[in-house]
């Protein structure tokens, strides 16, 4: 028994070493740097909480955190609602279904940066939408088009996230829907349940595993995403990843440590939220008798 375990541990050593060096090592390095250890910059005050203290006591950090959460939550939520609706539609049979099943996955294959470029082309002042609006007389001049990009409501950023993640969530929920089949919904209908009731009491609880796993991934990505808020954001306050980037990019390289504290903070906060989310879901699963 012991020998077998030892053997197993030995077999797993190479992959564990690689994983540790790639992720664990970088994580440890980020944490020790954020605590004041960076002799290569001539800084070594380890252990030193001053970077966190400076960060957390500044109001702009909390504004940035709020903004980051706002983008992440709103876009995940919108993508989820859209994804559920689309998955429910796709499960039905309708003419041209095969085509739609390919089309909706298209954004999954297109990189984020291309999506951002598309957003600029489509949604910007002087973009395609504004020109069309002007052409059809909805506005007098493309310049009057409502500001979608570079505002703090961040519709441009949210649009890019949703555009990319809606297909992903759809895919996840569609797969779960296929797995559970139509029969429980039909049974509910025969028992007299209306469509709304069927959705909330029969379908939704059953697709929850798909919802939880896909929103978890999207939310985690959105919290840490950099390009979209960087290019399409409205300037101060920035989202936390952009704030971190500004520190890293500063000529004063001792600010690197402040950047690390920011990165570690993002990780901590995202970790706590995701952990809480999963714990709540586990409780629900247990209540349903699943293990």
């Amino acid at each position: 028994m012991r020998r077998e375990r030892l053997f197993l541990a030995l077999q797993m050593t190479p992959i564990m070493v690689v994983l540790f060096l790639l992720f664990g090592g970088a994580l440890v390095l980020a944490i020790v740097q954020s605590l004041g250890y960076a002799p290569w910059f001539g800084v070594n005050t380890f252990p030193d909480l001053s970077y966190f203290r400076a960060l957390w006591s500044s109001p702009s950090f909390w504004q940035s955190l709020g903004l980051t959460m706002y983008y992440a939550t709103v876009s995940t939520f919108l993508a989820l609602v859209g994804g559920i609706l689309l998955a429910l539609a796709l499960i039905k049979t309708f003419p041209g279904k095969t085509l739609y099943k390919y089309l909706y996955k298209l954004p999954l294959m297109i990189p984020y940066t291309v999506g951002i470029a598309l957003a600029v082309l489509m949604l910007g002042n002087g973009g395609v939408l504004s020109r069309f609006a002007a052409l059809f007389g909805l506005i007098d001049d493309p310049g009057q088009f409502p500001q979608i990009l570079k505002t703090h409501y961040g519709w441009g950023i949210i649009a890019v996230y949703v555009w990319k993640q809606l297909p992903f969530i759809t895919l996840a929920i569609y797969a779960v829907l296929l797995g559970i089949g139509r029969e429980t919904e039909e049974a509910a209908a025969i028992l007299g349940a209306k469509r709304r009731t069927i959705f909330f009491r029969v379908t939704l609880p059953q697709i929850l595993p798909g919802i939880v796993s896909s929103t978890l991934i999207c939310f985690a990505f959105n919290v840490g995403a950099f390009e979209a808020p960087f290019i399409l954001g409205g300037g101060f306050p920035d989202t936390l990843p952009v704030v971190a980037w500004r520190y890293f990019n500063d000529a004063d390289y001792t600010l690197q440590l402040q950047g690390m504290a920011t990165v570690v903070s993002i990780g901590l906060i995202a970790g706590v939220i995701l952990f809480g989310y999963l714990a709540a879901y586990r409780r629900f699963e247990k209540r349903m008798g699943r293990n």
Partner: protein, 349 residues
């Protein structure tokens, strides 16, 4: 108590015809079995009655009322699905109470009816369990209770016994029959097991390839099948081709049998004669008997305990004879078969 009528019902899926012009008249309080091989359209028929599928042509009536435009929710039918379709995220109690709770039945009434039905299906100890924590038979009883609690006017069951082991199946059969008789609810029961159909049903509808082949009481289907296919499906093993000689005899590969005249079976027509296994008397060849007996030799014997099957070679054919095993005849023995005219059934073709 509801009478269910299918009037010239057809169902096409794209270019494929699943049901072709079926007429079925189910009396109120009757238990009807839909019997047929896999893919013949049994489930499709149930789904149309429930309103889950619309017939391509034809009408469905409940008590002379056309329900074709009535939504699933408003038909007040009950359906026990082939794979139960229990709600996996609800306890036994919640599953069973679902139908009442979505109809806005007061809580106290739900609780009373829940107690009552749980008592009937004997699920008391399992009220707080989830479907994943139940055995097949228990799940099935949940599915039945969930359906019955809403007091449907028509109860449909799609092969509810298919997933159960032999012993449980026998128990559930008796349970369903007793319950159905007690409640007097019009019931349509799908199966592809002819023994199950005969044991449970007041009448059986045999469906082949979307066509209604025969509809009648079990004994009719068993003794007087309208076609070789039906006879075959009902488990008949002695079916022999022959030619009518006159209207009361048929010439077969093992001799001429006297038969009772049947309409449509004229002199010279090609027919199939069916001899039921248990309708033939077998005698050792040395026993005195009439001249019209068929002579043969026992080629094989299958002993089932209470009964025994003999495979008797008669000319070019093999006839299977079933009798009580109070005595046993030996393989190789010369025998004579007594086949009374009234026990021979003729089918066209």
């Amino acid at each position: 108590m509801t009478q269910v009528q299918l009037r010239s019902i057809s169902k096409r899926f794209g270019g494929f015809t699943a049901i072709e012009n079926i007429d079925l008249d189910i009396r109120s309080g009757e238990l009807v079995a839909l019997l047929g091989p896999s893919g013949c359209g049994k489930t499709t028929t149930l789904r149309m009655i429930a309103g889950l599928e619309n017939p391509t042509t034809g009408e469905i009536h409940f008590d002379d009322r056309d329900v074709s435009d009535l939504r699933v929710q408003d038909r007040n039918v009950g359906m026990v699905f082939q794979r139960y379709a229990l709600f996996p995220h609800m306890t036994v109690e919640k599953n069973i109470a679902f139908g009442l709770s979505v109809r806005g039945t007061p809580r106290s009434e739900i609780s009373d009816r829940l107690d009552e039905i749980i008592d009937v299906v004997q699920l008391g100890p399992f009220r707080q369990r989830f479907p994943a924590q139940l055995s097949g038979g228990q799940m099935q009883r949940v599915a039945i209770a969930r359906t019955l609690i809403t007091k449907p006017s028509v109860l449909m069951m799609d092969e509810p016994l298919a997933n159960l082991d032999t012993k449980l199946r026998g128990e559930m059969r008796r349970f369903i029959r007793t319950l159905q008789q007690r409640l007097g609810i019009t019931t349509i029961f799908v199966t592809h097991d002819q023994v199950e159909a005969m044991e449970l049903a007041d009448r059986i509808a045999v469906i082949f390839n979307g066509h209604l082949a025969q509809f009648g009481p079990p004994e009719d289907l068993y003794r007087q099948p309208v076609s070789v296919d039906v006879a075959d499906f009902m488990g008949a093993s002695n079916i022999f081709p022959g030619t009518m000689t006159g209207t009361d005899a048929v010439k077969t590969g093992f001799g001429t049998l006297s038969v009772v005249a049947q309409p449509g079976m004229a002199d010279g027509s090609r027919v199939h004669a069916m001899l039921r296994n248990e309708g033939i008397d077998i005698h050792p060849a040395n026993v005195e008997g009439g001249d019209d007996m068929v002579a043969g030799r026992i080629a094989a014997r299958d002993f089932f305990g209470a009964t025994v099957n003999y495979v008797v070679e008669c000319g070019a054919e093999r006839i299977i004879v079933n009798e009580q095993s109070r005595r046993l005849l030996d393989v190789g023995m010369e025998v004579r078969l007594d086949i009374p005219a009234e026990r021979v059934w003729l089918m066209a073709g």
